[in-house]
């Protein structure tokens, strides 16, 4: 039976008459003649083995909905998972703006026709600059992992040293990204040393840091607040140790902490980096991450950024803002393999969203959200630690996340989390694989979206799970 002709709504020239007219224009009678440059033996002669299409829009929507409904969601469950993707409040205007088709479907257009996109990304850099108290940012990166990795590569180019010191408490996912990114041919060019930590506080072991410190250290990297939630209270001292040895001091920070926590630049960071996901973006199954790097206004740093930079300038029209490419030849778009690392499509839409978020929040909003997170998470830690057998693993002050140890309950985190699902709760991230020294521990994340009743419910559920 001959195949039925389908006119696809997204392929307008699939209308047979139009197609025939165009084919006549270009002088072919068979569509395959369009491909005469592809030798016959390199053509795929079979039919792709793909499912039968779902042609109409209602049915594809229904079909996709049925698949997505198999997922349990943080809409329906209480989510205490963070570990780099914490649930935060997303103002409606953030979704409104990133849903604007003009931003959603723009790409690499120049600064006149895409003036708004250039301005929105310039504003993202500017707003982040205020939060971080630093002057220089590029347009965004893939995620925090890329930001951490590129910060280290920048440091390496700045001082040409070959050893980086990272905390052993580092986010394991980001560590994996960094490890691959510092790799080279034929052997890793940059040596990674992980600095020990105090098991009671999580803080960096300064003796181990000093023992590893030398004039060949390229950078000392810390997270603050850390992956495990604790605040690295020795940050200023670590920075001094690093800078005295001529190394860069890189601080990976959580931007939503910076209304209450000091900007790393003000305790000595020479490079600040992180993931701006907390600023107005949804969980999105991890698909709403975005990386940033910031430095002071110094050509030594500016010329080492790998991504595009949009600079504010004038136009030929008096009083009008315009935008231009800054140091384009730095980038691989300008100089191919002679550029800094590589650049490409990253997370522009999410950066615009983070800019909207910071515009809405203002200084007061950032201070308040930081305060609420501190209060709610401290309350949660207090509440959980009152449950028999449950203890808070680290004694340091923390922001948003903290390590909860269940060793004395006789149950594994996996068992506890399975049971918590019955209470419609996503328990904390199981750390027993990545941090076996903490035994059966989980990383709990509490933010401004958790109300007291949510935290109380968690405590109640955990009590029940543990005692049964």
């Amino acid at each position: 039976m001959p195949k039925k002709t389908i006119v696809y709504p997204y392929i307008p020239n699939s209308v047979p008459e139009v197609k025939a007219e165009l084919m006549k224009e270009v002088g072919v009678t068979d569509p395959m003649d369009l491909y005469e440059e592809i030798p016959d033996h390199l053509r795929f002669k079979e039919e792709l083995k793909l499912p039968e299409p779902i042609l109409d829009e209602y049915s594809i929507r229904r079909h996709t909905d049925e698949i997505l409904k198999k997922n349990k969601t943080a809409d329906e469950y209480l989510c205490f998972l963070g570990a780099g993707c914490a649930p935060h409040f997303v103002p409606a205007v953030c979704d409104e703006i990133n849903g604007r088709g003009e931003f959603l479907t723009a790409y690499v257009g120049d600064s006149m026709g895409d003036h708004g996109k250039w301005q929105a990304l310039f504003e993202y850099c500017s707003l982040m600059g205020e939060l971080l108290d630093m002057d220089i940012l590029s347009i965004p990166m893939y995620d925090g992992g890329q930001a951490a990795s590129s910060s280290l590569r920048m440091a390496n180019r700045i001082n040409n040293r070959k050893k980086v010191l990272l905390p052993a408490t580092m986010n394991p996912e980001i560590f994996m990204v960094v490890k691959n990114y510092l790799n080279s041919v034929p052997q890793p060019e940059i040596e990674i040393v992980q600095i020990k930590f105090d098991p009671n506080t999580g803080l960096m072991d300064l003796n181990d840091l000093k023992n590893n410190m030398s004039n060949d250290v390229c950078a000392v990297f810390i997270e603050n607040p850390s992956y495990l939630g604790f605040i690295e209270t020795q940050a200023e001292e670590i920075g001094k140790i690093a800078r005295q040895a001529g190394a860069e001091f890189i601080v990976y920070t959580d931007p939503i902490s910076l209304g209450v926590m000091e900007a790393p630049a003000n305790y000595g960071a020479t490079i600040t980096c992180g993931d701006y996901h907390p600023l107005g973006l949804h969980l999105g199954a991890g698909g709403c991450q975005g990386g940033f790097i910031a430095t002071h206004d110094d050509m030594k740093y500016i010329s080492e950024f790998k991504d595009l930079m949009f600079g504010l300038t004038d136009t030929i029209q008096e009083g009008e803002w315009g935008f231009g490419e800054v140091l384009y030849d730095r980038t691989s778009y300008g100089s191919r393999d002679k550029g800094k690392e590589f650049t490409g499509t990253s997370t522009g839409l999410w950066a615009i969203t983070a800019g909207v978020y910071l515009s809405l929040m203002g200084p007061k909003g950032m201070q308040e959200v930081g305060t609420t997170i501190m209060q709610n998470s401290q309350y949660a830690a207090k509440k959980l630690s009152a449950i028999p057998g449950v203890k808070i693993q680290l004694s340091s002050p923390f922001f948003k996340e903290f390590v909860v140890n269940f060793d004395m309950t006789g149950k594994t985190v996996a068992e506890i989390n399975k049971k918590l699902l019955e209470f419609k709760i996503f328990g904390g991230k199981d750390l027993s694989h990545d941090f076996p020294q903490f035994g059966q521990s989980a990383l709990y994340c509490v933010t401004e979206i958790h109300q007291q009743k949510d935290i109380d419910k968690l405590a109640y559920a955990l009590q029940g799970v543990i005692s049964c």
Partner: protein
């Protein structure tokens, strides 16, 4: 009025020009854009102000100097900025050749950005609670395997260049695992995307770039001369940015394989070849697709995006982790690949982009994918024929050969005749409501280049409108070159005084840096 008489040229067009301030200029002390949740009174009474737990040295001393703007003004401001942006939803994306600016169906966007089954899923949930998400990942991998002929895919990289970087990392891991440490070089071609040179360099390789021969193909003899026991791999595009398919592609692959190198196929622009030509038949070992191009996900003002990496079975152990697996009943995440390069991105990459890809493939099936490819090539050949007739246009290389999905054109003749070059035409384009076009990556091997790609989303009238605009600009250039040079007139903003800012004195990438340079702030 009859259709034929309707004019296509939008000469009455004017883009929104809001003369919009920078958001900081809109600040009114005390205004609030949004109120945030506060801790309950009971919580506050139990733990105090929370923030005093932070040691003094690490407490924020001076509030960030963010603007204070009420919500309506923030919303209006960003609406204005969006209206000053020519996304493909409002203009002809034909302009951005090599970028495949196809229509991104709204039904996909609505599911990906509104359905709690993706928006409200945490990537560290127990896999049993995200079976739907893993099903989407698993199935998209199977679809892409079929479309390319490769044996395994990773959907983790966050963009096309990121995928090419991942492939360079895999090539490195493969040779190292075999104890072959001599392989320190990667060969690419000048008309391959810059990332095919930049990412292997980032991965630590020495990069050799081949120039095109007089026919526009990469020089095969030069490549044979460059290949040796030091060659780790070749990373090339086909068709290259010129839209010329290299019919001898197999010979390049064969020559590379003969010295033990791997072959990586940059198929960021596979749109013209879906169901017609695959990496497998050309004997490539690695491939990548840009899901935000060929598979219809939008470009999002430069992301989020996904570069899907595909490899042959023998390279599967090196793919990033976790891998999504299926035992016939359950989808699981497997991290147990000890030879894996590890991760290139946190979590699983951009799930929203993967979901859109899933929907697009499911809406089209095998026949629809092939129809998209055919119509994109048909459009391009029609378009090229018409563009070639515009005074001032030159089409370098491969005369008389059919191009696939895009063409790199040149205004070299227009420049010689009138002094109007590609940058001038590009600025004038927006006066007709059309997005600036893509000239070329650097260096400009083709003089005064512009690269157009009328993919399958555009109908004949869209193409004819575009052609008419270029005809008009060409006419203007011959009649009044200065007029074109001073464009744009109707865009959201005029020509910047500095479109390339290389002087450190003029660099202002943030508002604070600008203010400091102007002496408005300490």
């Amino acid at each position: 009025m009859a259709r034929q008489q309707r004019k296509l040229l939008r000469d009455n067009y004017h883009q929104a020009r809001w003369d919009e301030p920078i958001i900081f200029e809109m600040s009114v002390p005390g205004e609030r854009g949004v109120l945030v949740p506060m801790a309950s009174e009971e919580i506050a009474s139990q733990v105090g102000d929370g923030a005093s737990a932070i040691p003094a040295s690490l407490r924020r001393k001076k509030a960030p100097a963010l603007p204070e703007v009420n919500q309506m003004r923030v919303n209006r401001h960003y609406y204005h900025l969006s209206q000053e942006t020519l996304g493909t939803d409002v203009t002809l994306g034909i302009s951005e050749g090599t970028c495949t600016m196809k229509y991104s169906p709204k039904v996909q966007e609505h599911m990906a950005s509104r359905h709690p089954g993706i928006v409200e899923v945490h990537p560290h949930q127990d896999p049993e609670t995200m079976q739907g998400l893993l099903e989407i990942y698993y199935k998209v991998e199977q679809f892409l395997k079929e479309v390319s002929g490769m044996d395994a895919f990773s959907l983790q990289p966050g963009g096309g260049a990121h995928a090419v970087y991942t492939n360079a990392s895999i090539i490195r891991a493969y040779h190292r695992a075999r104890g072959d440490h001599k392989r320190t070089e990667i060969i690419t071609t000048m008309f391959s995307h810059p990332c095919d040179a930049a990412t292997p360099n980032t991965a630590g390789f020495k990069v050799i770039t081949l120039m095109p021969d007089e026919s526009g193909y990469p020089d095969l003899e030069a490549m044979k001369a460059a290949l040796s026991e030091r060659t780790a791999g070749i990373m090339i595009t086909n068709p290259e940015d010129t839209g010329i398919y290299n019919p001898r592609i197999e010979e390049y692959v064969r020559a590379a394989h003969a010295v033990g190198a791997l072959c990586s196929y940059d198929q960021a622009n596979a749109n013209g070849m879906l169901g017609i030509h695959r990496a497998k038949e050309a004997n490539f070992d690695l491939v990548h697709f840009n899901l935000h191009k060929t598979f219809s996900a939008p470009h999002g003002s430069m992301g989020p995006a996904t570069g899907a990496v595909g490899v042959k079975e023998f390279l599967k152990p090196y793919l990033p982790v976790p891998r999504v697996e299926f035992d016939g009943q359950k989808y699981t995440l497997n991290y147990n690949y000890p030879e894996s390069i590890g991760k290139v991105r946190t979590f699983f990459g951009n799930a929203n982009v993967v979901l859109k890809t899933y929907m697009w493939i499911m809406q089209h099936g095998a026949d629809g994918l092939k129809e998209a490819a055919i119509c994109s090539v048909l459009n391009n050949q029609y378009f090229m024929k018409k563009i070639s007739q515009i005074p001032g246009v030159v089409i370098p290389y491969a005369k008389g050969k059919r191009r696939l999905e895009q063409v790199r054109y040149s205004w070299e003749k227009l420049m010689q005749d009138t002094g109007v070059g590609t940058d001038d035409v590009n600025r004038r384009l927006v006066d007709f409501g059309i997005e600036h076009y893509w000239t070329s990556h650097h260096p400009w091997v083709v003089p005064e280049p512009f690269t157009l790609e009328p993919c399958e989303s555009y109908n004949k009238e869209d193409m004819d409108e575009y052609i008419e605009v270029l005809q008009q600009i060409s006419k203007e250039a011959y009649e009044d070159p200065d007029f074109v040079k001073k464009a744009p007139y109707k865009a959201a903003s005029h020509r910047p005084t500095h479109s390339a800012i290389d002087d450190p004195e003029l660099i202002a990438v943030t508002w604070r840096q600008y203010q400091k340079k102007k002496g408005l702030r300490k």
